[in-house]
Symmetry: C2
């Protein structure tokens, strides 16, 4: 469901090239639960951004659900992202003037989901990430880990086919991280949602069947582990 | 060097009170290296903000280097923070239009440090957190973990007496986190800088002699471990 070939991403620092991705080949099956780890600066966020159509590669191609992103019009790409991809940003990117609940409902509204269902789904997801009672708070009135969980709830509420999560447990204690992972595992198994999770967290990696390690813009390791 | 008594912090959500701190008593000696852990939402950031004079308590008192923060004028408090306290924010709070190097030098400039020495100190700290070659990049051109390290370098460059670090390794891989902790341990032992580190990271907790656990706005545990 997610596929890329010879993916390269080059930034320019003045005239100096920075090769964030140096030729990444990847195929992720529908229903897979993949962790993507590697040193700080190795290209994890860049890879997720390009896979999610938020950024263009310098070379190579990306296919989501069979569609080549470079062949899509701007409108069609935005549509694909809205309907098919749930993104959890490393810096959350919550809308400061909206409450937690409104932030989660925002994407549902763009998707044309009715008001009653939006509210119910948002409240359920916020409850599932442990934020019952905090629905009307704005991001500035929430702790770092609470903001992180709103960002996760927002990505999941949209019922995407693929979730690209950039370090979703970075600011969470063990118990909260554990319950978030169980929620993701449950959605993966029961709804067939595909997960690609960039992470430094060994607990997250332990929860995944497939473990990819990125180093210096290239895949260093791509192993499948048996169920334990 | 850091002391608080019966510290309380109450927010209001509409008319509903939220007690983020419910009476915290703490005494930290000069040269101590303390970890502050506890569930997401337990009050760690709030405690660091109040200890660092960035926020006022609803009740109780804070003393830094013998000075009662509530007795200081606004100017004297700002001065104390500038000269004595290094703060690493959970969300980094880097200045987007400044480069990494300029972000680190910023505080030194406020402290009146000369241009040549500012440059040298900033470069050394950036090298010590593994960011050699990235000095002229702006935050948006850095990975999450690289931004986090600039925030750490900024706090350390100012040569504070006390460093209050809010989850400084959240976005770092094990090797990078380890080297950051060694740097902090070195500054603690050689320069006598006091560290209070809010964290979910077991590796960080393992590096600290004194471990405080906060739950629901109160200190649940405050233990000293022997050197290992
Ligand atoms: N706009 C840019 N200009 C120059 N270099 C960039 C830019 N954006 C990212 N980079 C560099 O590309 C590399 C990969 O960045 P990326 O954010 O993907 O790393 P990461 O693996 O997500 O790191 P972390 O674990 O710290 O979040 C880094 O070295 C980063 O400094
Ligand atoms: N302005 C505010 N209004 C209402 N409640 C607030 C406000 N700021 C913080 N809180 C609440 O106070 C509690 C403590 O927040 P704090 O940020 O100190 O937690 P934390 O321990 O740092 O959490 P994390 O590990 O997630 O960063 C949280 O439940 C939070 O929702
Ligand atoms: Mg990243
Ligand atoms: Mg916090």
């Amino acid at each position: 469901i997610v596929e890329c070939r010879n993916l390269k991403k080059r930034y320019f620092q003045g005239s100096v090239p920075v090769d964030a991705l140096r030729g990444v080949d990847l195929q992720v099956e529908k229903g897979d639960f993949v962790s993507l780890s590697g040193p700080s600066g190795s290209g994890k966020s860049t890879l997720l951004n390009v896979l999610g159509g938020l950024d263009n590669p310098s070379e190579g191609s990306v296919k989501i659900a069979g569609q080549d992103l470079s062949q899509l019009s701007k409108g069609d790409l935005a549509d694909l992202r809205l309907q098919r991809i749930g993104f959890v940003f490393q810096a959350y990117n919550l809308i400061p003037v909206l409450s937690a609940e409104e932030n989660v409902e925002f994407i549902l509204q763009l998707q044309g989901v009715g008001a009653a269902e939006r509210r119910q789904r948002a409240r359920m997801l916020l409850a599932q990430v442990g934020l019952t009672g905090m629905e009307s708070r704005r991001p500035a009135q929430l702790s770092g880990g609470q903001q992180q969980r709103v960002a996760v709830a927002r990505a999941l509420a949209a019922k995407p086919s693929v979730v690209l999560a950039d370090e979703p447990t970075a600011n969470l204690d063990s118990a909260t991280a554990e319950s978030l992972l169980s929620l993701m595992a449950e959605l993966n198994q029961e709804s067939g949602i595909t997960f690609i999770v960039a992470t430094h967290d060994p607990r997250v990696i332990a929860h995944t069947r497939r473990r990819i390690v990125l180093t210096d813009g290239q895949i260093d390791q791509d192993v499948r582990v048996s169920e334990d």
